[in-house]
């Protein structure tokens, strides 16, 4: 993609239109993301019904003006549940970003900065990357016990090596740059060089990767909750809602359809925004994916 952006001639006549459409998709992503986040944050005020309010007379009602997304087997309003569940799903996803960024930055900086630590850390990163994300996460959750915080910890551990690898590679380059050498010659301490000179220059790859980890973590959380090894089934998340709506797939498909669409829209918007950020902040990176 960078090849295209950096050489307008390659685009030919479609250049301007192409770039415009591209920006539009990023804009589209940003708008969806804002709507999803706002709905989740404001859910107590937006939700037309209490998400846990039972109403057996209204069981399995199809979408209507009263119940935009219909009702589930307990007569609960699916629309209200979807936006309330979004709060948990987004919180889990965002917390995973924080945990994996902290772990990944520490590992990556240490490996990139201290030659002696590089070998062992790089090997451990390689080994961790050999585990498929969901598999490693289920095993960790199985060992730690199923709960929202353990899901966050498990997925944080799963995605940390991915970030650590990128941080390590960039640190190796930055470490040799003249201004780092200059800082060292001036007697600036190593931790300070790491924070002020290295980490600051890593802000954009971290931001870009963070968006993709957010997207992946939301997919993974939905998968774990669907399998019953994630967040407790009593807590509405998009994953648990799909899992519970499954048995009414034939008669009341809307119960699992809407939380699924919510996952798709949120993940898609994160990916679109991440893609746009990558093109804007770090044109070198965009060729890799």
């Amino acid at each position: 993609m960078a090849a295209v952006a950096s050489s307008p001639a390659a685009y030919g006549g479609a250049s301007f239109l192409g770039l415009l459409v591209r920006r539009k998709t990023v804009l589209f992503g940003a708008i969806i993301l804002i709507v999803v986040v706002a709905a989740a944050l404001l859910s107590p005020w937006i939700a037309p019904y209490a998400p846990a309010k039972l109403s057996l007379a209204n069981r399995l009602k199809p979408p209507s003006a009263q119940h935009l997304f219909g009702t589930d087997d307990f007569g609960r309003d699916v629309f209200s549940r979807v936006i309330v569940a979004g709060r948990t799903s987004l919180t889990v996803g965002f917390s995973v970003v924080i945990v994996s960024t902290v772990l990944g930055v520490i590992l990556g900086l240490l490996a990139g900065f201290f030659r002696r630590l590089d070998g062992p850390i790089a090997r451990v990163i390689d080994a961790m990357m050999a585990f498929p994300d969901i598999l490693l996460a289920i095993s960790l959750v199985a060992a730690l016990g199923p709960s929202a915080s353990n899901v966050i910890l498990a997925l944080g551990i799963v995605y940390a090596p991915r970030l650590a690898r990128i941080i390590r590679a960039s640190t190796l380059v930055i470490r040799e740059l003249p201004y780092v050498e200059a800082a060292r010659a001036l007697g600036v301490s190593t931790p300070r060089i790491m924070a002020n000179h290295v980490l600051r220059n890593l802000a954009s790859p971290i931001l870009v990767q963070g968006t993709f980890i957010f997207a992946n973590a939301m997919l993974a959380e939905a998968g774990l909750s669907f399998l019953g090894v994630g967040v407790a089934p009593s807590t509405p998340t998009w994953g648990t809602m799909i899992s519970q709506g499954r048995q009414f797939m034939d008669s009341a498909g809307w119960i699992m359809m809407f939380p699924g669409l919510a996952v798709v829209l949120s993940v898609l918007s994160l990916q679109l925004v991440g893609d746009g950020l990558r093109d804007m902040l770090d044109p070198r990176l965009s060729k890799d994916l």
Partner: protein, 313 residues
């Protein structure tokens, strides 16, 4: 070259060793006594003590570690607690659906991604390209289990083309078993084609502007030959890499997809082991899958030597 291959083999052994260690650690971070957790709240103290001895949990951690590694070297992954059979046997019995599911989904993903990615790079900036790029991103955003459920509802329940779940009865023919795999394989293949499309497109874009492509064109060579023979061949290395990386995604996807489609594969085995807290099975499955991933990617590295004569170490 021989030296490079030797170095890579040593690297693989080191990574496998760390993988085994990580697996050992994961299963032992369980808060409390794993034996008590496995047997549940109704177990008597004698039962728990008995299981602790059977699993070697009464030994100090370093001794357990040596036993674990020693067992691995002899190809012993331990004994399943609930199935009452060796973990390796349990995995072997459930390998068939997972194996074919993975192979078919890779084939489907490549069958979609290669032509679409090539054409999209060739017509870069066109409406087709924009649509493909957006669709690829969309399909990477769909949870595979949800797509699977939607497929079951539409193709199996409404249209009746495919069975809704399972892998056929014990006496069913190979063909009937494969028929059960069509929907899960298409689901996984579609979701995973997205990443490959993006890589194919990007690496084709890289080579399409190169001098030898221009030379081939100026010789009057047909476009199809220029793209498929000269450009694609040179774009193959990154494409192979991503196909290798995708196998990890496919295995992740297979765990969830098998549950959706009720396939008696390794994925379902792992999920039931997790709910039953059958730690030896979780440990063994984790190990085998991670080892497979390392070996597949090693094999792909070696393939580079074949695909690209310039790569000589």
């Amino acid at each position: 070259m021989a030296r490079y291959i030797l170095n890579r083999i040593i690297g693989v052994i080191v990574v496998l060793f760390i993988v085994a260690t990580v697996v050992f650690v994961i299963v032992r971070v369980t808060p409390g006594d794993p034996a008590a957790v496995m047997l549940g709240p109704d177990a008597t103290a004698a039962d728990i003590a008995d299981l602790r001895i059977r699993l070697g949990l009464n030994q100090p951690i370093p001794v357990q570690y040596l036993y674990f590694m020693g067992g691995l070297l002899r190809g012993d992954l331990g004994q399943s607690i609930f199935l009452n059979e060796p973990v390796l046997t349990a995995l072997g019995q459930r390998a068939e659906p997972t194996f074919f599911l993975t192979i078919f989904s890779i084939l489907i993903a490549c069958a979609i991604a290669l032509p679409v990615g090539i054409l999209s790079a060739y017509k870069r900036g066109s409406v087709f390209d924009q649509v493909v790029t957006t669709l690829a991103m969309l399909s990477a955003s769909i949870p595979s289990f949800w797509l699977g459920l939607v497929f079951i509802e539409f193709f199996a329940v409404k249209l009746g083309w495919f069975p809704t779940s399972g892998y056929g009865g014990p006496g069913d023919s190979f063909l009937s078993r494969m028929h059960h795999l069509v929907q899960p394989a298409v689901t996984l293949g579609l979701v995973n084609s997205a990443l490959i499309i993006r890589f194919v497109r990007a690496s084709m874009l890289d080579v399409l502007g190169d001098d030898y492509v221009r030379t081939a064109r100026s010789k009057g060579m047909g476009e199809a030959r220029v793209v498929l023979k000269h450009a694609l061949k040179n774009a193959l290395i990154p494409i192979l890499t991503v196909i290798g990386l995708t196998t990890a995604l496919l295995i992740s996807g297979a765990i969830v997809t098998e549950t959706v489609f009720g396939l008696p594969g390794v994925g379902s085995l792992i999920v039931s082991a997790v709910t039953r807290r059958d730690y030896p099975v979780i440990q063994g499955a984790l190990l085998v899958i991670a080892a497979l991933y390392v070996l597949i990617n090693f094999a792909i590295d070696m393939l580079y030597l074949v695909v690209d004569p310039r790569v000589s170490y």
